[in-house]
C-alpha cells in the first residue's frame, strides 16, 4: 500500500536564494498521525502549504517530489492537482477566526464545499454537516449553523473547522498548530476531539506543532525540523525514550513537565544550536538543486 503522503527531498528557496526547506523527506501512512515539530520559523507551515498547493508566490520549490496516495503531484497539470488536493486533503488551520469568512453564515460555508466542489445534493450535505457537528460535540447545531463566525467562541469555531475538515472524508488532514490560538482550557478538549475523530474516521494527519507535550499525546511518528531540515525522525515513543539528535535532546529537555514544571525547564543549549548552524551552513555551501 502506498503512503498517504510521501515527500521526497523537497527543497524550497526564497527570492533572495535563502533556503526555507532543505531536502525534506517525510511520509504519513494511511490512518497515522505524524507530528512535525520544530521551533518558530523552522518551516513547518511551509511544508503544510507545499502539500496543500498554497505556497506563497515568493517561495519556489527547486527540487523534490510530493505524492498523495501514490500520485505524483508534479506529474499533474494545475487543474488536476487542485482537484486531487481538494478531494483528498483538508486543513485544520491555526487561527479559527480568520479561517472562516466573516460575512457568511456557518451553515452555507460548511455545506458549500460539499455541494459545489464534490457535487453532493444539498440535503445530503446538510445531513452530513449535522452529523459532523454532533461528532465534535456541538449541542445546538441549529444555532451554530445560522451564526456568523464572530458570534461563536474560539473553541466553537475550531470545532466547526474540525467538523468541516472531516466532512468530505479526506484521506489526509494537515493540522497546523490547531490549538495554539485557543484558551489553555479549550486546547485539551480540541486536541481530544481531533484524536477522537482521527481514530473514528481513520484519517491520516500531518500534525504541525511546536509543543512536544502535544506530540506525545497525539502522534505515532515524529519528524523534528530545524531550519527547514529534518534532523530526526522516529516513532514517538522511541523519540522520547532515546532521542538520537542533540537538538532533539535539547528540545525535550526544554519542554516543561507537569511533575516538576520549573526544575526541568531550561532553554535549548547554545552550543547545540551553534553546532547545528555550522552543520547547515556547511551543507548549504555544497548544495546545488537536484544534487542535494
Amino acid at each position: 500500500m502506498s503512503a498517504c503522503l510521501d515527500i521526497r527531498g523537497l527543497s524550497a528557496v526564497l527570492p533572495n536564494g535563502q533556503r526555507v526547506l532543505r531536502s525534506v523527506s517525510l511520509t504519513v501512512q494511511p490512518g497515522e498521525v505524524r507530528a512535525l515539530v520544530g521551533e518558530s520559523g523552522a518551516g513547518k507551515t511551509m511544508i503544510g502549504k507545499a502539500v496543500l498547493g498554497v505556497l506563497p508566490k515568493s517561495v519556489r520549490v527547486v527540487e523534490g517530489d510530493m505524492l498523495i496516495e501514490g500520485e505524483d503531484l508534479g506529474q499533474l497539470d494545475a487543474k488536476a492537482r487542485r482537484t486531487l488536493i481538494g478531494a483528498r486533503t483538508a486543513l485544520i488551520p491555526q487561527d479559527p477566526l480568520t479561517a472562516l469568512n466573516p460575512s457568511r453564515r456557518i451553515g452555507p460555508q460548511m455545506t458549500d464545499r460539499l455541494v459545489r466542489i464534490l457535487g453532493w445534493s444539498g440535503e445530503r450535505a446538510d445531513k452530513r454537516i449535522r452529523q459532523l457537528l454532533d461528532e465534535v460535540q456541538i449541542r445546538d447545531p441549529e444555532r451554530v449553523l445560522k451564526s456568523y463566525p464572530h458570534e461563536l467562541s474560539g473553541g466553537m469555531r475550531q470545532r466547526v473547522l474540525i467538523a468541516a475538515a472531516f466532512a468530505a472524508e479526506p484521506r489526509l488532514i494537515v493540522a497546523d498548530e490547531p490549538t495554539t490560538a485557543l484558551d489553555v482550557t479549550v486546547q485539551k478538549q480540541i486536541l481530544r476531539l481531533i484524536a477522537q475523530l482521527q481514530r473514528d474516521h481513520g484519517t491520516a494527519i500531518l500534525f504541525v506543532t511546536h509543543d512536544l507535550g502535544v506530540v506525545a499525546k497525539i502522534s505515532q511518528k515524529v519528524s523534528v525540523l530545524y531550519a527547514g531540515k529534518v534532523v530526526e525522525e522516529a516513532e514517538t515513543a522511541q523519540l522520547f525514550a532515546a532521542p538520537q539528535h542533540a537538538y532533539t535532546r535539547a528540545l525535550i529537555a526544554a519542554t516543561p513537565r507537569y511533575t516538576d514544571p520549573y526544575a526541568s525547564l531550561k532553554p535549548v543549549d547554545e552550543s547545540v544550536l551553534a553546532g547545528l548552524a555550522a552543520e547547515i551552513a556547511a551543507a548549504d555551501q555544497s548544495w546545488r538543486p537536484g544534487h542535494g
Binding site: 498554497v54 488536493i85 481538494g86 478531494a87 480568520t98 479561517a99 469568512n101 460575512s103 466542489i117 464572530h150
Partner: protein, 282 residues
C-alpha cells in the same frame, strides 16, 4: 459598538434622518408634476421676486417665493431634483460598477493585472477632477448623458482604490486559502468569498458618490455646462440666485440648503448602511 447596536435595532437617528430626507426628495422628484404647486417654467412679471411665505408681500401658493422672472422657486427645486437624482443614480452606479470591478480584480489577482490597473488609476487621479469634468463635458457636448458619462469616467477611481485595498487584505485571509485548498477556482473565490466582505464599503462609497455626483452636476450647471435645456437644475437655480442675491436672497439660499442636505444625507446614509451591512458590527 453602541452606535452599531442602535443601528441594528433600526433606531439610528442618522439613518432615519438621512434616509427620510432622501426619500422625501426622491418622491418629490418622481411625482414632481403632481406635487409642484406651479409650473416651474411659467414666467409672470407681475409676480417677480416674491418672498417666502412668512415674509410680508408673499403670495399664497408660492411657498418659497419666486425668482426674478416670477417663476415659483419651490416648483423649480422639485423639478430640479429630477435631474439631480437621475445624475446621482446613473453616474454613481456606473462609476461604482467600473471602479469596484477593476478594484476587485486588481486587489485579488494582484500581479500584472494590479500593476496595469493601479498605473491607470494613478494617471487618472493626477487630473484635477472638476477641471477634468468641465473638459470632458466641453468635448462630449452638454447633455444629460454626457454629464453622467463625465462623472462616471472621472470618479470610478474612487471605488477602484478603496476596493482594491480591501480586496487585497481579504485575499491574504485564511478562508481564501482554505477555499483554494478545497478546489474553488480563482474567480469563484473572488465573487463568493471576497466580494461579500467588500460589499459594505461598496455600498457606503456608492451612496457617498451619489452625493458627489449631485455636487458635480450642480457645479457644471453653475458654469453653464450641464444640460442645455430650460429645465431647472439645482446648479442653474443657484447660478441665477447668485445674480439676484441682494434683491432676493431666497433664490440662492433655498437651493443651497437643498443641495447641502441632499449631499450630507447621501454620505450619512452610506455610512449608516455600511454599519448595518457589516456582520461584525451588526
Amino acid at each position: 459598538m453602541d452606535e452599531a447596536r442602535i443601528a441594528r435595532r433600526g433606531l439610528s437617528p442618522r439613518l432615519w434622518l438621512a434616509g427620510g430626507w432622501l426619500l422625501l426628495a426622491l418622491l418629490a422628484a418622481i411625482f414632481a408634476p403632481l406635487i409642484a404647486p406651479q409650473d416651474p417654467l411659467a414666467q409672470d412679471l407681475m409676480l417677480e421676486r416674491l418672498p417666502p411665505f412668512w415674509l410680508d408681500g408673499a403670495e399664497p401658493g408660492y411657498w418659497l417665493g419666486t425668482d426674478s422672472l416670477g417663476r415659483d422657486l419651490l416648483s423649480r427645486l422639485i423639478f430640479g431634483g429630477r435631474i439631480a437624482f437621475i445624475v446621482a443614480f446613473a453616474a454613481a452606479t456606473s462609476a461604482c460598477l467600473i471602479g469596484s470591478a477593476l478594484g476587485l480584480i486588481a486587489g485579488y489577482f494582484g500581479g500584472w493585472a494590479d500593476r496595469i490597473i493601479s498605473r491607470v488609476v494613478d494617471v487618472w487621479m493626477a487630473f484635477p477632477p472638476v477641471l477634468f469634468a468641465i473638459l470632458l463635458v466641453a468635448v462630449l457636448g452638454t447633455s444629460l448623458s454626457s454629464v453622467i458619462l463625465a462623472i462616471a469616467i472621472i470618479d470610478w477611481t474612487r471605488f477602484c482604490r478603496v476596493i482594491r485595498a480591501e480586496a487585497m487584505s481579504q485575499a491574504r485571509m485564511d478562508y481564501v486559502e482554505s477555499a483554494r485548498i478545497a478546489g474553488y477556482g480563482r474567480t469563484g473565490i473572488m465573487l463568493r468569498e471576497v466580494l461579500p466582505n467588500v460589499l459594505p464599503s461598496v455600498v457606503a462609497l456608492l451612496s457617498l458618490e451619489m452625493g458627489i455626483a449631485v455636487i458635480v452636476e450642480a457645479i457644471l450647471s453653475f458654469v453653464n455646462l450641464s444640460i442645455s435645456t430650460d429645465d431647472p437644475t439645482w446648479g442653474s437655480i443657484i447660478a441665477e440666485g447668485r445674480l439676484s442675491i441682494h434683491q432676493a436672497w431666497w433664490v440662492l439660499v433655498f437651493p443651497l440648503i437643498t443641495l447641502i442636505l441632499t449631499v450630507l444625507s447621501f454620505s450619512q446614509f452610506g455610512e449608516a448602511l455600511k454599519a448595518r451591512f457589516d456582520p461584525v458590527l451588526r
